[in-house]
């Protein structure tokens, strides 16, 4: 089964790249853009059929490797 997880910087951590993207969008005329946060997206293919079990594994993977808990949050997306 395929499952994805999105890793982003925590709210109180400065995201300089997101800030630049935000500013650029404003410069391009998108006046209604308020804020942009940049993150990483991972698509993980698993040899697991059970949804809950798959979620558990991806949760572990995210915690141990994909995200740095000090500054990053992750969100698992089940299709």
């Amino acid at each position: 089964m395929k499952i994805s997880t999105t890793v982003t910087l925590k709210k109180d951590v400065l995201d300089p790249q997101g800030k630049v993207v935000n500013q650029t969008l404003k410069n391009m005329g998108y006046k209604n853009v308020i804020n942009v946060r940049q993150g990483k997206y991972f698509e993980i293919e698993l040899d697991i059929k059970n949804k809950d079990e798959a979620k558990k594994v991806v949760d572990q993977i995210s915690k141990k490797l994909l995200a740095n808990a000090v500054v990053e949050d992750y969100k698992i997306n089940l299709e």
Partner: protein, 227 residues
């Protein structure tokens, strides 16, 4: 004194640190990251570079290498561990040092000489800096912006675990002398036991007058004194 320099795919300061260690009569061995057993050493160095192309996060993939288990054991037994630049990032990712290194505040790769104030001269790496505690060393990094929660910063300050802070030529630690946006101008920190040091600047690059300075030599002289 015996040392081991761990080499990862993408390390590029491994030879520089080996030359520096040997110059100060430290017997060094290069150790490939895939090896499981660390040779008998007093000091383990994680060198600068771009291990695994900085994939995922700088130092992240290297921190899961086979040899790292032995490096952690070595540190737990009181052995010395020095992480320079990417090595510092790897130490952070293994959890041997607290906090995190974010991208430089201005999103630029910084490569220049900076000034440092040596804040802790009691640890084994910095004993010789009592002679001179405002020093010049080069930095060359993209992710050197040290970040930690207020509580951790206070703890680092209170326990005197900040080894180096960015400063100006006069030794003043201020906002203008902070090249990358690091919290409290932090350039290098120690663990609680003070046997693990992580630092962004490169002491191994200033060990000879021909390289425009010798402020890095003081660190290696401090280490040699131990044996």
């Amino acid at each position: 004194m015996k040392s081991s320099v761990i080499v990862f795919p993408g390390s590029n300061c491994d030879r520089d640190i080996a030359v520096a260690l040997e110059k100060f009569q430290i017997k060094n061995k290069m150790v490939w990251h895939n090896e499981v057993n660390l040779p008998k050493s007093d000091l383990v160095v994680l060198p600068g570079g771009f291990s695994y192309g900085d994939y995922l996060r700088a130092g992240c993939i290297a921190s899961k290498s086979k040899i790292i288990g032995d490096v952690i054991d070595h540190a737990k037994k009181g052995g010395l561990v020095l992480g320079i630049c990417n090595g510092f990032q790897i130490l952070i990712e293994t959890g041997m040092l607290p906090g995190v290194l974010l991208r430089n505040k201005k999103l630029r790769f910084i490569s220049k000489n900076i000034f440092l104030r040596v804040k802790n001269i009691k640890n084994k790496f910095c004993l010789n800096y009592k002679k001179k505690n405002v020093i010049k060393l080069p930095v060359a990094h993209n992710e050197g912006n040290y970040f930690a929660k207020q509580k951790l910063l206070e703890e680092l300050e209170d326990k005197n675990l900040i080894a180096f802070k960015y400063c100006n030529e006069q030794g003043e630690v201020n906002k203008e002398s902070n090249p990358n946006g690091s919290s409290n101008n932090i350039a290098g920190i120690l663990n609680n036991e003070m046997n693990v040091l992580g630092m962004m600047p490169h002491p191994e690059r200033l060990i000879d007058p021909f390289l425009s300075g010798e402020d890095g030599s003081l660190m290696f002289e401090s280490l040699v004194k131990l044996s």
